[in-house]
Symmetry: C2
Subunit: 395 residues, 2 copies
C-alpha cells in the first residue's frame, strides 16, 4: 500500500501504480501473472467525473489489461468488497491469481466536494430532502450555511451512537478518548500511517469538538491512497512463497430493518465468518476494524464478540486491545491514525493483517500472530450500516 | 424488465421495483428467498449524485436487505457484470439464489448531463485534455461549442470503425442500414422495446446524419429502465420450475493494447465462452449483441464467429440474422430499437434470451431455440473496448 496522506499532485493512476507495483514486487510476481482484477473505489465519479470504468483506466495505465476487470463500490467497504470478489474468483477455481485494488483520492482544491462525495454513502434522495428542510429551518432562524457541507454528517451519526452508548451502558468520553490514544500510538509505529503523532488522553479530549462527545482526534481524517493484494490458489501461492497467508472466511453483507433486540448486520456476519473459519473470537490474535470514529471501535468490540454487550468501555480500559494486549485492535493505527481514503481502506486492512501474520510488521508487530480478522463497514441506510465486510486470515 | 423508455417522473427505485417484482412473480418466488444481490449501474453518481451504495438504496426501498449487496459498474456492460457475479456466487456454491439487477436513468432535464455521463466510459483525464485542445482549436477557427456535449462522442468512434470496415472490406452504408431495418422490425414485435416503429431502408438512410456513415436510426437512443434476473442452483431452480434455463458460460474481460493481427477482446472472450459451454457458433439459435450502432453489429458478427472476417456485410444481406434466419440476432430489437439505458442493458439481454429459450417470447419467438448467446461491451480505452461480457444460456 501507499502511505496514506494528502497527495494533491498525485492522481488515481499514480497511487494505484505504487500499490500494485509494491504488491507484485513483494510477491516476486510479474504483472502478466494476474488473471483477473477487482477494483474498489467509492467516489471517483463524484470527485473527478471518472465513473463507469475506473479500474480499467488505472490498470491499463500500468499495462494491465486483457483480463476480467470488475469495478465495485460499497462506500467505505468498497475494496473489502473487491477483496471478497477476488477471493471468490480464486476460491471458486475460476482463476488462480486475482488482484484486489482499492484506491481513493479525497483531497480536492474544493474541500466541500470531498464532504459532498462522502455524503453520497446514504440514500441521497432522502438526504437531499432532509438537507432542504434543514436549510429552510436555518434560514428562518438566521443561521449560516447548510449542514454537512464543511464536515461529514457521518460524524453526527457516530456522535449520536456514542451518546446512546454512554446513556445505555455508562460508557465515558474518556473511554472513547482512550481508543484514540491507542490508535494514534499504534499509527506512530506504522510507516504507512498518514498521521504519526502520539497524544495523551488530555490532548485527545482537548482537541476541537466535532460533535459531542467526539473531538477531532477521535475522528478519521480525509486522505488519499491505494492498497493492493494478490490472491492466489494455494498451489499457485506455493510457487511464490513458503509462507502463504490463507483467507479462512470472506463475507459481504448489508443492513436491514430489524427490531432492536435482533442482531445487527455486524453480529450476523461475524457469526457466519467465525463459522466458516472455524474459529471463535478467543482465537483471534489481532483485529483491524472500521474506527471511522473512536466510539465505533467500542461498539464493534461488542458486535464482534470481543466482549459482551455494554462491556466495550471497560475493555479499552483493561488494555486488552492494545498492541501488547490479548487481542490488539487496529495495530496499523486504524482509520483514526493510518487514515481513511474510503475506497482504499478495505484492502489496507488486509495489508496490515498480511504483514502481521507474516511477522513482517516491524515496530508494531504482534508477536506470534496466527489468526486475524478485518471488519469494514460502509454507508448508512436508515439506522444501519449499508455495506459490511468481514475477513478472517490465518498463517 | 420494465419497458425501456423516457420516464422523467420515475426514479431508480421505482424502475428497479418493477423489474424485481416482475422477476419474482415470474419465478413464483418471495423476495425473502433472495440470498445475495448484485446491482449494475453505470452513471447514477454523475446523473444524480447517488454513488457508493446505489444497490442498497434501491433494494432497501423495496424491503430487500440483510444480504450481500454488491454494486458494480462496467459502463454499458455494468449489469452483464452483475449477472456474471451473481452466476459466480451460485456456480461456486456460496449462495443458492442470487439476484442480478441492472438499472439506469439517462433522461435528465439537462440533456448535456446525460451525454457527459455517458462520456465517463473512457479515460476521463485523457478525454478532458483532448476536449480542451479541441475547444482551443474551435475557438481559433471561430467554431461554436465543444464537441461531445450535445451527443455521445461514442458515435464518432463507431463512425470511424464503420468507415474503416467499409474501406477494408467494401462494406456499404446500405448494409449498416439493413441492420437497423432488421432490429427496428424486431423491436416492433417486442412490447418491452422503447421504439416500436418499422422503417424501410430508405427511411433509415434518409434519417438525419449523426456522423458519416451513421444516421440517427442507426444509433441507439437515450433511455431509462431496469431489468432483473434470478439465478439459482439447479436444485433450487427445480423447486420453482420444470423448465429452468441454464447458464453454460459466463465471462467478463477487458481490452488491452495489442498488434492489429492479434485477436481483440471479443474474439478472445468468445473463444473462452464457446469452450466453457461446449458449443460452436453453429450451435447458436439466437444472439443478443451490443448494437450501440448498426456497424457494431456487423463487426460483432465476425468477432463472434458467425461469419469470417470481412463477411459481416454479406451476412446481413443474406437474411441469416433475421428473425426467420439461421441465427437471428437482436430479436429483442437490440439497443437500436429496444433502447439502451446503459446499466440495464446487460440483464435486459438475458431477459430476452430467457423468454426465447422458454418459448415465451410471443410475436418475436425464435422457434425451438435451445442455445443462445449474449454479448455486451462497455466503454473504450485507447482503441479497444474497456469491458466486455459474454454469456451462453441453454434450455
Amino acid at each position: 500500500m501507499t502511505r496514506f496522506g494528502k497527495y494533491i499532485d498525485r492522481g488515481l493512476k499514480n497511487l494505484s501504480r505504487e500499490a500494485v507495483d509494491a504488491a507484485l514486487q513483494r510477491a516476486g510476481m510479474d504483472k502478466s501473472a494476474i488473471e483477473a482484477a477487482i477494483v474498489g473505489n467509492a467516489v471517483a465519479g463524484l470527485m473527478f467525473g471518472q465513473e463507469c470504468i475506473r479500474g480499467q483506466v488505472v490498470l491499463r495505465d500500468m499495462g494491465i489489461g486483457g483480463i476480467p476487470i470488475i469495478n465495485t463500490e460499497n462506500a467505505c467497504a468498497s475494496s473489502s468488497t473487491a477483496f471478497h470478489l477476488a477471493w471468490l474468483y480464486v476460491a471458486s477455481g475460476m482463476y488462480d491469481v486475482a488482484l484486489a485494488l482499492g484506491v481513493e483520492k479525497l483531497y480536492h482544491e474544493d474541500k466541500r466536494r470531498s464532504f459532498q462525495a462522502i455524503g453520497a454513502a446514504v440514500d441521497v434522495e432522502i438526504m437531499q430532502r432532509i438537507m432542504a428542510q434543514m436549510a429552510a429551518t436555518s434560514k428562518k432562524e438566521g443561521e449560516e450555511g447548510g449542514a454537512g457541507e464543511s464536515r461529514s454528517m457521518f460524524m453526527d451519526l457516530y456522535a449520536m451512537a456514542a451518546r446512546d452508548h454512554m446513556h445505555r451502558y455508562g460508557t465515558t468520553k474518556e473511554q472513547f478518548g482512550r481508543v484514540a490514544v491507542k490508535n494514534h500510538y499504534h499509527g506512530s509505529l506504522n510507516p504507512h500511517a498518514q498521521y504519526r503523532e502520539r497524544y495523551t488522553l488530555e490532548e485527545i479530549l482537548a482537541s476541537p469538538l466535532v460533535a459531542e462527545p467526539l473531538t477531532r482526534l477521535m475522528c478519521s481524517p480525509i486522505g488519499d491512497g491505494a492498497a493492493a493484494a494478490i490472491l492466489c490458489s494455494e498451489e499457485k501461492a506455493r510457487q511464490f512463497t513458503s509462507k502463504p497467508i490463507f483467507v479462512r472466511a470472506s463475507f459481504v453483507d448489508s443492513g436491514k430493518d430489524h427490531r432492536p433486540d435482533e442482531p445487527g448486520a455486524t453480529e450476523r456476519i461475524a457469526a457466519k465468518a467465525y463459522e466458516m473459519a472455524g474459529v471463535t473470537p478467543e482465537d483471534l490474535d489481532l483485529v483491524e476494524l472500521h474506527d471511522a470514529s473512536a466510539p465505533a471501535e467500542i461498539i464493534l468490540y461488542e458486535e464482534l464478540g470481543l466482549c459482551a454487550k455494554g462491556e466495550g468501555g471497560p475493555l479499552i480500559d483493561s488494555g486488552y486491545t492494545e498492541l501488547t494486549g490479548k487481542v490488539p485492535v487496529n495495530t496499523s493505527g486504524g482509520l483514526l491514525s493510518k487514515g481513511h481514503p474510503i475506497g482504499a481502506t478495505g484492502v489496507a486492512q488486509i495489508c496490515e493483517l498480511f504483514d502481521q501474520l507474516r511477522g513482517e510488521a516491524g515496530d508494531h508487530q504482534v508477536q506470534g500472530a496466527k489468526v486475524a480478522l478485518a471488519e469494514n463497514g460502509g454507508g448508512m441506510l436508515r439506522a444501519e450500516v449499508a455495506a459490511i465486510s468481514l475477513h478472517i486470515l490465518s498463517t
